[in-house]
Structure formats: structure tokens, C-alpha cells
């Protein structure tokens, strides 16, 4: 498989503190790679290394197969990025910010209007960017990242500050860019729910270490199977099932969730509850919620 991004045992220190440890990312071409992790996990540092803003050790970072330090300009030509808060000139208008970037990249200035329309900022084109809301700044940052029509997009928490409509638009834009225009996107987030609908691949990082990497379907398989039970007395049901020392018993308002190892255990749980006089309204296998799975992976304790 050809990778748009590949890191090989990448380690990076700020002074004596190791912020990225033995990281081996593999981002397939044409994928939307969700780079997940709690705040401070090392996501932004990794993105900065991928953009050569932080210098990586030799032969640890490869962009489209080329070592980043030896091919900085060639690699950056194929990349567009939005890192942390969008970096825009607040004394210039939204359009001027784009025109300035067009000048630097030798792109026709007409592309600025095209990008403004794409991110829905045409009406605010003549407004000073410093007066934009956070969501508008984020859109402008995305427009700047897309301006050169890069093959690879690195988006660091791109939906920060966006309203639900804006989030959906960005989500759809990412899907369109990969499906219609064959781009590769690495998108970081600390919320799995935010990208589970778009990402084709996921990498989960915590304390600088990669805990999981693979297609999003494989992430689902990591979780233990869970049975959802709805009864007339969930408190009593939990008390009855606890002595079995099952791995996970979670009680929610309507139902309880219990992990199991084989089908026989489900039948046993059912008869136990019924024999104790508890009415079982529903019992069935359920996929573990990805959000909880993400929390389980990043916080094993």
C-alpha cells in the first residue's frame, strides 16, 4: 500500500520531555485519517513535525515516500495545512488574506473568490479578518489550506468554533475532497464522535504513543461484545449480575450494558434475572459505543 504519510519510530523531545515516542503513522493515500487523542496527547506536535515546523530526526518522516528534511519544499508543495488556531493577518480582509497567499504561491488571484465561495465567506470577503468570528476564521483557514489544491491536507481540529451546520459542511467537504478529488486528509480531533462519520482510518495517540492504528472497522472489533438489557428494575439487575465479575457493567437510564464472552452467558443472565422475578423487556447484543471504546483505549484504568 502506498502511504501519503509514513513515520518510522518517530521520537521528539522538548528539552527533556518526550512528547512523541516511537510513533509509526501510516496514512494511506486517498484516506481520511482521523488522528485522535485527548488534549496534550501530541497530535499538534506530530502535525508540526509532518510540516517540518519542528525538525524531525533524519529518516523518520516520509511524505509521499520522500524524506521530509531532504525534500522540504517538494513535500510542502503537495501539502496544505491548518494548524491550531488559523493563522491569518487580522488587519487584512478575508479576500486579501487569500490574495496574499495566491501571490506567494503564484496562483491566479481569481482562485481567492472561488475559495471564499467554497467556504461560504463570499459576503464577508471585504470584512477585516480580525473581526471574523472564530468559526469564520476557521473557514478562512481551511480556504487558505485548500488554495493550492494540495494532494494532502493536514487539518488540526478544523471544526473548532464551528456551529453544527458548519461542522456538517466541513464533514461533507472532507468527504467530497477524498471521493471526488482523490485527496488524502489527516484530521486531528479529541472527539471520536466528530470524525467517526468521515474517517476511513483512525490513529489513536495518548502521551505521545500510538495506541491503535487501522481502518475504522478494526477499531470496532477491538471492543468487547456487550449485551444491552432493559428491565423493570435496573438497580436490582446490576446487583444480581455483579457477583459474576463480568468485565463491564454500565448502567444508563433505560438499560444496563454487560460485556460477555460467549452466547451461553447471555442465556444465563436472562434466566438469572427472570428467576429473580425481574421483568426483562429486551435483551440483545450491541456494538460497544465508539466513544466509550476511545475512552477505554486512552484511559485503560
Amino acid at each position: 500500500m502506498e502511504f501519503a504519510i509514513e513515520t518510522v519510530g518517530l521520537t521528539y523531545n522538548f528539552g527533556t520531555q518526550t512528547v512523541v515516542k516511537d510513533l509509526s503513522l501510516q496514512v494511506p493515500k486517498g484516506s481520511i485519517y482521523g488522528f485522535l487523542g485527548p488534549n496534550g496527547a501530541g497530535k499538534t506536535t506530530t502535525i508540526k513535525i509532518l510540516l517540518n515546523l519542528l525538525k524531525s530526526p533524519t529518516d523518520q518522516v516520509f511524505i509521499f515516500g520522500k524524506e521530509i528534511n531532504a525534500n522540504r519544499i517538494a513535500s510542502l508543495k503537495r501539502m496544505g495545512a491548518l494548524v491550531e488556531q488559523p493563522a491569518i493577518y487580522s488587519h487584512l480582509t478575508g479576500k486579501e488574506n487569500l490574495v496574499n497567499r495566491c501571490m506567494l504561491l503564484s496562483i491566479n488571484k481569481g482562485k481567492a473568490d472561488e475559495m471564499l465561495a467554497l467556504v461560504g465567506l463570499t459576503e464577508a470577503a471585504s470584512k477585516k479578518a480580525g473581526k471574523y468570528s472564530l468559526g469564520m476564521k476557521q473557514r478562512l483557514g481551511i480556504a487558505l489550506a485548500l488554495l493550492a489544491d494540495p494532494e494532502l491536507l493536514l487539518l488540526d481540529e478544523p471544526t473548532n468554533g464551528l456551529d453544527p451546520n458548519g461542522i456538517i459542511e466541513i464533514r461533507n467537504l472532507m468527504i467530497e475532497l477524498t471521493t471526488k478529488h482523490h485527496k488524502t486528509i489527516l484530521v486531528s480531533s479529541h472527539l471520536l464522535a466528530e470524525i467517526e462519520r468521515t474517517a476511513t482510518h483512525v490513529g489513536i495517540i495518548n502521551k505521545g504513543q500510538l495506541l491503535f492504528q487501522g481502518p475504522i472497522g478494526e477499531l470496532q472489533n477491538l471492543g468487547k461484545p456487550v449485551v444491552r438489557i432493559e428491565t423493570n428494575n435496573n438497580n436490582q439487575a446490576v446487583a444480581l449480575l455483579e457477583p459474576f465479575k463480568l468485565d463491564t457493567i454500565r448502567k444508563e437510564e433505560q438499560a444496563i450494558f454487560v460485556s460477555y464472552n460467549d452466547r451461553e452467558q447471555i442465556a444465563h443472565m436472562n434466566s438469572l434475572l427472570v428467576n429473580a422475578g425481574i421483568s426483562v423487556y429486551s435483551i440483545g447484543k450491541e456494538k460497544q459505543d465508539l466513544e466509550h471504546l476511545f475512552l477505554d483505549i486512552t484511559n485503560p484504568n
Binding site: F14, I73, N100, M103, L104
Partner: protein, 265 residues
């Protein structure tokens, strides 16, 4: 080379609405305007002195350089170098610039050259407006003798020398504002430098010629004392000018290494 060209015009595009850019234009217009007004206002007194045509020009131009060269030019340089780099610090755009497929040397050189361009625009305007105000004064008061001598050689040599003598300050302040994003350090260091420069130049310290903040003042004072600018003895590359150029070249190289090693945390 193309990266340098693109970055240079981007610098102009970004800063064309800032005070640093407009100050390069407003400062000469205001100072030359005031000096010309003062000259016209004192016309009766000046006419009694019966100056030669050359002295009319010398008097007019030295009035301007005395006001501007000692204090205003160094402070403008300090403020302008701060502004050119602060655009990136304030908007957190270093990270964007360095993710563009542009050579770091070009990005850095374009900023430095743009800074020098603003100084050239400012001093070029001083020179041009001094020339224009001489003819305006002649038009307003026909007894003046501005039209009997061509000051182009005198003005261009004088302002070129002043430009070269200020290169040292430009380079020091450029590096300081490149490293530190806050207002106080470049301004504070620059202010102390200028005051120290004046003190050591006035006190006649023998090494003052090598202190960048003294060099513009020494250049102006030497010219004033000897009237050398009006004679064939004019020397462009005096010790303080050579020291200023060497300082600028040295610090330009140091600045590049700072930019090349700059990491965006």
C-alpha cells in the same frame, strides 16, 4: 530568486495598510513641510545673511537632517523593524509562512530587503522633498538663490551616506524583533541604544564610530563640522560607514541562521 521576488511583494502587500509603511511617507512630508515653512517664515532674516546659492541649499537640507537624523530616523528604524516582524508574531503567522513551499533564505531576505526598502523610501522622500521645497521656496520668494545651484550631487551623497550609516541599527533591531515578539524588548533596547549612542558620540569616545547607534549621528556631525559634503573632500566610506556596513552584513548572516533554526512550538 522567484521565492525572494514573491516574498518581497507579499511583504509590501501585507504592510501597505500599516503605520510602518505610511510613516515612511508621512514622516518626510511632515518634516520637510515644517522645515520649508520655517525657512519661508524666516525669509527676511535669511536674506540679510546674503548666503551663496550653495549655502541656501546646505542650510535648508541641514535643517531637515538635524531634526530627522539624530533622533527621528533611529526611532523610526526601531519602530519599523519591529512592525515588519511583528505582523507575523502578532498574527501567529510564522507557522503559516514556514509551511509554504518557499525557501527560508528567501523569506528572511525578503523581509530584510523590504525593511531596507522602507528606509530607502523614507530617505529618498526626504531627499526629493528637500529638493522640491527649495524650488517651492524660490517660487514664493524670488530673492532666494535656490535656482542658481544644483543640489542633486550634495543631497544624494549626503542621504546615501546617512542610509549606509543607519544599516547597523537596522540590522540589530531587525534581529531583536525577529527573536522577540513583545514590544518592550526591541523598543527598550533600541531606546537605550540610541541614548547611549548620542552620549558616546557627543562625549567623543574614540570607539564611538564602531557603536552602531552612534554612527548616524557621527556621520551627520562630521558633515556639519567640515561642510565636507559641499567640497571635493567628500568621502563616502568613512570608518563609521564601513563599520555600519560590516555590522549589517554580519548580522544579516546571523539572522539567517536564527530563521533557519527557528522552530514553531
Amino acid at each position: 530568486m522567484r521565492s525572494l521576488y514573491l516574498s518581497f511583494f507579499s511583504e509590501f502587500y501585507k504592510s501597505r495598510k500599516t503605520l510602518a509603511f505610511w510613516a515612511a511617507i508621512i514622516l518626510p512630508v511632515v518634516i520637510c513641510g515644517l522645515v520649508a515653512f520655517g525657512f519661508y517664515d524666516s525669509s527676511q532674516r535669511i536674506l540679510k545673511l546674503n548666503y551663496s546659492p550653495m549655502m541656501y541649499w546646505y542650510r535648508l537640507s541641514s535643517n531637515t537632517t538635524n531634526i530627522m537624523g539624530m533622533m527621528i530616523l533611529p526611532f523610526y528604524v526601531i519602530f519599523m523593524t519591529y512592525s515588519v516582524n511583528n505582523i507575523e508574531h502578532k498574527n501567529d503567522t510564522w507557522k503559516t509562512i514556514f509551511t509554504l513551499p518557499l525557501n527560508k533564505l528567501s523569506i528572511y531576505s525578503a523581509k530584510y530587503l523590504y525593511t531596507l526598502s522602507l528606509v530607502i523610501i523614507c530617505l529618498g522622500l526626504f531627499c526629493t522633498l528637500t529638493y522640491a521645497s527649495g524650488f517651492l521656496l524660490q517660487f514664493l520668494e524670488s530673492r532666494f538663490k535656490f535656482d542658481q545651484y544644483s543640489p542633486i550631487d550634495m543631497l544624494s551623497k549626503g542621504y546615501l551616506k546617512l542610509f549606509l550609516s543607519v544599516l547597523g541599527i537596522v540590522s540589530i533591531q531587525f534581529i531583536i524583533s525577529l527573536i522577540w515578539s513583545d514590544f518592550l524588548k526591541p523598543m527598550g533596547i533600541g531606546f537605550i541604544g540610541v541614548i547611549l549612542g548620542i552620549i558616546v558620540a557627543v562625549a567623543g569616545w574614540k570607539y564611538a564610530k564602531f557603536f552602531p547607534y552612534s554612527q548616524p549621528m557621527i556621520t551627520l556631525n562630521t558633515g556639519k563640522r567640515s561642510n565636507e559634503i559641499m567640497t571635493a573632500d567628500f568621502t563616502l566610506f568613512t570608518t563609521e560607514v564601513i563599520a555600519s556596513i560590516i555590522t549589517a552584513i554580519g548580522l544579516f548572516i546571523v539572522g539567517y541562521y536564527i530563521v533557519a533554526k527557528k522552530t514553531i512550538k
